[in-house]
Symmetry: D2
Subunit: 341 residues, 4 copies
Amino acid sequence: MLSFESDYIEGAHPEVLQKLVETNLEKLSGYGCDRYCESAKEKIRQACECPKAQVQLLVGGTQTNAIVIGSMLRNFEGVMAAETGHVSLHEAGAIENTGHKVLQIPGHDGKMDAGELRVYLESFYGDENHEHMVFPGMVYISHPTEYGTLYTKQELSVLSGICREYKIPLFLDGARLGYGLMSYETDVTLPDMAKYCDVFYIGGTKVGALCGEAVVFTKQNMPEHFVTTVKQRGALLAKGRLLGVQFDALFTDNLYLRISRHAIDMAEVLKRAFREKGYSFHIDSPTNQQFVVLENKNMERLKELVGFCFWEKVDEEHTAVRFATSWGTRQEDIEKLREIL
Amino acid sequence: MLSFESDYIEGAHPEVLQKLVETNLEKLSGYGCDRYCESAKEKIRQACECPKAQVQLLVGGTQTNAIVIGSMLRNFEGVMAAETGHVSLHEAGAIENTGHKVLQIPGHDGKMDAGELRVYLESFYGDENHEHMVFPGMVYISHPTEYGTLYTKQELSVLSGICREYKIPLFLDGARLGYGLMSYETDVTLPDMAKYCDVFYIGGTKVGALCGEAVVFTKQNMPEHFVTTVKQRGALLAKGRLLGVQFDALFTDNLYLRISRHAIDMAEVLKRAFREKGYSFHIDSPTNQQFVVLENKNMERLKELVGFCFWEKVDEEHTAVRFATSWGTRQEDIEKLREIL
Amino acid sequence: MLSFESDYIEGAHPEVLQKLVETNLEKLSGYGCDRYCESAKEKIRQACECPKAQVQLLVGGTQTNAIVIGSMLRNFEGVMAAETGHVSLHEAGAIENTGHKVLQIPGHDGKMDAGELRVYLESFYGDENHEHMVFPGMVYISHPTEYGTLYTKQELSVLSGICREYKIPLFLDGARLGYGLMSYETDVTLPDMAKYCDVFYIGGTKVGALCGEAVVFTKQNMPEHFVTTVKQRGALLAKGRLLGVQFDALFTDNLYLRISRHAIDMAEVLKRAFREKGYSFHIDSPTNQQFVVLENKNMERLKELVGFCFWEKVDEEHTAVRFATSWGTRQEDIEKLREIL
Amino acid sequence: MLSFESDYIEGAHPEVLQKLVETNLEKLSGYGCDRYCESAKEKIRQACECPKAQVQLLVGGTQTNAIVIGSMLRNFEGVMAAETGHVSLHEAGAIENTGHKVLQIPGHDGKMDAGELRVYLESFYGDENHEHMVFPGMVYISHPTEYGTLYTKQELSVLSGICREYKIPLFLDGARLGYGLMSYETDVTLPDMAKYCDVFYIGGTKVGALCGEAVVFTKQNMPEHFVTTVKQRGALLAKGRLLGVQFDALFTDNLYLRISRHAIDMAEVLKRAFREKGYSFHIDSPTNQQFVVLENKNMERLKELVGFCFWEKVDEEHTAVRFATSWGTRQEDIEKLREIL
């Protein structure tokens, strides 16, 4: 059966796995103090053109969100996020579990609007006294968003400016960052990330690794004794090499971007296939997640031949579903899909 | 340089890694719902002779301790542990971070004494009213302990009996469980674990896996919606296969116990080497961690040729250090060590 | 200057204070184990016609919300509340500080709509798997709401029914309960509270006491060792008598309801005064909080002569403000207000 | 029956209560923004000879400990306390509930030894890497201690010096501070408190108030937006006047120290009575709590005539019990006790 359910249905990209095999019997220090972690961090700093960046490798996305947010907020602060943000909805209360509120503002195809952010902040710090309310202490955005959409460089710049004005960090969830950077329609680069965000992460789990997210603190702002916090939150691997080796491979010879580009190329082929067959899209996504509107009857039939993911009801007779491509998607599978369509 | 620093200096056992390679391109469901996770869980149930056991695969030991303890305790309860227990000392406050106190009682070479446990509980529930104190809500032990020592079957049985009497669960941290089960001096089997403990885990990270701990709830007592808790604590891997495939390999053809036995065999050879050379032991450990007393001057010299781990000062002129063996230890390396000694 | 800012601008009702004076030198047990606490609890049980109710006296409203919600929810659950609910907005993140999310649903003049509640729950437990989301574990409503509005008996009955169907408790915040019970427009009695709610509280702070809220668990459902939780959250007064004596006074000779009725009578006089002078109301409130729409220019002038509370902007030229009455409001002050208007 | 169970068996000192009565009908702002709170804070600053001190009035001791510790520690830090400290044992896990570990060091009749504190800190920051352990982030002492003992000015000075050296705050729990300041055997004054401690509190509950503790931040180190934290933890009274009026009374005409002195005078009379009758003391306490050793048989008989408090078993036949005096203890009651003895 064809599978487009998600971008984490396969293991690691073969070059990543190969590196794990090659280094397997080397005897290395534990807890992220090995040479592969060092090398991976250095390569990430270079790719970000941010030589002073502080990098920490973590295991998964929800874990990363909870640790970054929980350790950067002060106890009277919450994190602002679009109501469709991953931290708002799909992390089983991980942020609240750290004691902090997610302050939701509207989402627009997954994106936060800078104007609405400014209104919120101006109103909070306006005439009235809000000391019985949670202070806005950080802005969380995802890029690509949960809807596959992207911020432009201009939009990031404005969000970043507002955050600096209010002295709160801008945190970007890059669980699928590669697919954003390699989109045909983006003007945002990895160095732009480092420039506009106070902290962001480069997703490995969904972009070629077995697991792993690389958090980048760009302004010498990694919380003090961050490794202790990582340990306390159960996120410090004894065999830290597992993360180091994988990110070292991903940032060697541009692998991270190359495989992301493949997924984007495949998404474009997929898109064309749907368009040609007269399907419409729920959201106009320039990345590896494509949201297609299906008639319910059609959906049931398709389900038996192709794996995809329920997204949301459109109306009584139509449903939006997600098709995802990844580094592992093969063009021939899309051809088969086209035939089925 | 020779390396005996720990049991996590290498990657995965080759058979485990091989399985990851073989299955790498299979398209599988995420979040632990794949067939390898199912197979691993079933094999673990069989190895435990506990067909109704509920198994959850997690990533690391501190994470596992925090999630199991945090989700099983009620808000007014704490966990009892030996003062040398991993949860008491070396997890950066992970248990307290879940809102619960670690109620420390004395440790004896890392072990909890059943008599002292009983005295504590009798005293707590005795004449006086202790409602301004933290209630003892769980007993935590490690096996092997942090000092490499083991409980006998009789000792486990008594601890288990006390816990049942007071209706609190017995939780066993088996981060190095294989090395305990394969010790020459133990009478405790994996089915004994399932019999005496309410919940325990089978450590993978230190026994052949890249990462991974298999938590076993033995009495139909897995907390409700445990997967949601695992997600909330940032411990649910999108590519759950990483854990499933590894534990499936470890529990195929007895691999877990075979490689543990190798580590024990090597520990015995190591012990003999030290004994022959007139060294004494800080603790009498029947498992893969050996605690040797070195003269400080000697220690400095040795350090340049062999990797080992500082443990604690014995007196002004002597230091206890740890040598650990693992599945990856080669007899020839111990021979080289003997020559150096 | 005239003062209608809130219902907590004065100390205690004189009869309450008198009782504190009379009993001051009696030597009593600490931590709520004195005879006045016992007597107060018994009188509350009688007033609720709920002889098996379990009553705990606490100090303040936010504290009560955090303790009740934090101790009744399981770790994977959140509390559902109207987006305007006190727990959603004005408690500085007290609920999140206990590790739980406030699941917001729309508010309608402060009230939760039973139909929308049902849709939320049906959708949550519908076709899709929501185990990556926070489970709805409790329903929080306030009565009177933050907007002074009230639920009818029929509405409470329906909400209660939905909660029982989904096996989640209905929690009613009665910080201003007396003013609800004595409204001219309500059909809800204190025994109705006990019947429909699983837990609710009778507000003292805003209804005649110096401080104090009486939590009533109506279904033998007080969390185990609740006093220990109360101690842990810093809410157990050494001199528990302070709460016992006050609630004993408030529930002697119907004082609680008598003084609440006075506030309602005064609110009606106030309402008439505004209406006669041609003012309109932002919300139609049948309780002691009245929300009047003022022209901004008018508001500035009025501010110099009368104390009231900013509520929210209506449009560029109008503002909604709150006038509150209480047991201490004198009719002559309202007469003076009428003259000023 | 005679009552010496505790120093919180009566209500408020009559002068404090009188002030509550006198001010009861004044209309005042809520949440601690009234003139009595301001006046109380100013009088406390003067009494401390610390014009820049920042004062916050809170309700009770456990609450104060949890809020001060929870808001001053960073997430990777714990608080150091004597193993007999109130935060270690008798607050039902309130500190752990804020996510922080209590790092216990030995207690000596309730006191922390500066030498042992230094050894702990030196060892923590010594050769070995302790980043998997909880960082010592604050020192907690009580004065008088839970055993009625006191630090000398010299001892406070040394503890304070160590804290400054390691850049961690010294926090002093003064739940019974008055009784310490008025002991015949102390050389420590309130200005000394302000000099040596980074934060401490002046206990009201046990020294003449119905409730209330005044926290004093002495080094411009009150955590930012502390009122929001106080609100979040459920400790902000709507009628903040309840605390303001009481502390204003306690710090008018030296009332706080005068009534403390009375309790000390009574404790000396009590002590003499026991000594004359040949009783011995479990601890040599110079404050209002006296720990007397009773034969068990004698204890049972005495219990029927006099209220006192079980402390701990001394041996099979003897028990240490506590007799407490307070502002309310009458000399004639001690005379009666002497006769009974």
